[in-house]
């Protein structure tokens, strides 16, 4: 049902770009992703944006909507439009490729720096590890692995803005899942990777990541857990 017009200002170009405004028919149950798709298909085919699944699984459609990073496929226009207007920008803290598309390479490079890859010591010929789903550590890991890598926490984090080498909430959330994975054998190297100002000790606990995570995850809690593990390991002399 068409109800009205929506005024949509979109950042066009790269770092030196400018806003361009479009009028889009307002529809019932319309998402922000529906809006940019309409603009690209009906008004301006040169508009660049990124999406894949459209149902909140892939994490590729994140943008800044009226100043806040959001997953646009699950964000209804009715929840975020202010006086019939939307302002769309690419995610903060990431290099802009064009329009609403950012280069996510640095984001995922930091997952690697935070030792975000599982390190096991079993071969495929050995029996599967028996991990109790009710184990508190497994519960922490199971919560953290729900991250879809959308970059919303990274774009929201002021510490990333202030320190370009800061690993960011998503990378350390990933480290936290592996610290809690009883099958992983790289606990100390991983703590060494995330200790310091560029890692967990740089977090100011503003909790913007918690506030904005579309999956309701708790990266600040993960980073606080890493701080405690880092402190205990340092007191035992395991980080030297």
């Amino acid at each position: 049902m068409e109800t009205d017009q929506l005024s949509v200002s979109i950042w066009r170009g790269g770092d030196g770009g400018a806003y361009q405004t479009y009028q889009v028919p307002r529809l019932e149950s319309q998402t922000v992703l529906d809006v940019v798709t309409y603009i690209q298909r009906e008004i301006d085919p040169s508009l660049s944006y990124r999406f894949a699944c459209r149902v909140g699984v892939c994490g590729s459609c994140a943008m800044t909507v009226n100043g806040k990073a959001r997953w646009t496929c699950r964000t209804h226009v009715s929840r975020v439009a202010e006086n019939g207007a939307l302002t769309l920008n690419p995610l903060r803290n990431l290099p802009v490729v064009k329009d609403l598309v950012v280069d996510m390479a640095v984001f995922f490079d930091k997952w690697e720096k935070a030792m975000g890859a599982f390190v096991g010591d079993k071969t495929r010929d050995q029996a599967l590890a028996a991990v109790s789903p009710s184990d508190p550590k497994r519960k922490e890991a199971s919560a953290g692995i729900e991250c879809i890598g959308c970059g919303i926490c990274y774009a929201t984090c002021d510490v990333v803005d202030w320190n370009k080498d800061y690993l960011g909430p998503a990378a350390m959330n990933r480290s936290w899942t592996l610290i809690n994975d009883e099958r992983d054998v790289a606990r100390i190297p991983r703590l060494q990777a995330i200790a310091g100002d560029n890692g967990c000790l740089g977090c100011h606990s503003q909790q913007g990541c918690v506030e904005r995570c579309p999956k309701s995850l708790n990266p600040t809690g993960a980073i606080a857990g890493l701080k405690r593990h880092t402190m205990k390991a340092a007191l035992k002399g395991e980080l030297t």
Partner: protein, 113 residues
Amino acid sequence: MAHAHRNHPTYWAFFIHRVSGVALALFLPLHLYVLGLALAESTAFADFISWSNTPGLKTLETGLVVFLTAHLTGGLRLLALEFLDWRSGQKSLVALSGGISLCLGLVFLLNAY
């Protein structure tokens, strides 16, 4: 809109903790200087005390008490966040620390006049 992402309680708690910390750092040398007057120049100290009894100064002192308690309660909240197991209700803890600060400021103000 540039800073819309900051408009949530735990950010404001961070901001107040930082600003109150800077304000207290600026206040402390002044405080120590006045205490020093009590030892070195008792007349000047008595003059300062009588000046500080004016209503405007009492109001400023109330702000100082609120800042001091906000920094204390905010610091305790952060220590709990970082050293104890995570617990839900972080915004409630922000509200509690802010509420304690304002209540103590009010108690000071009521006793100031």
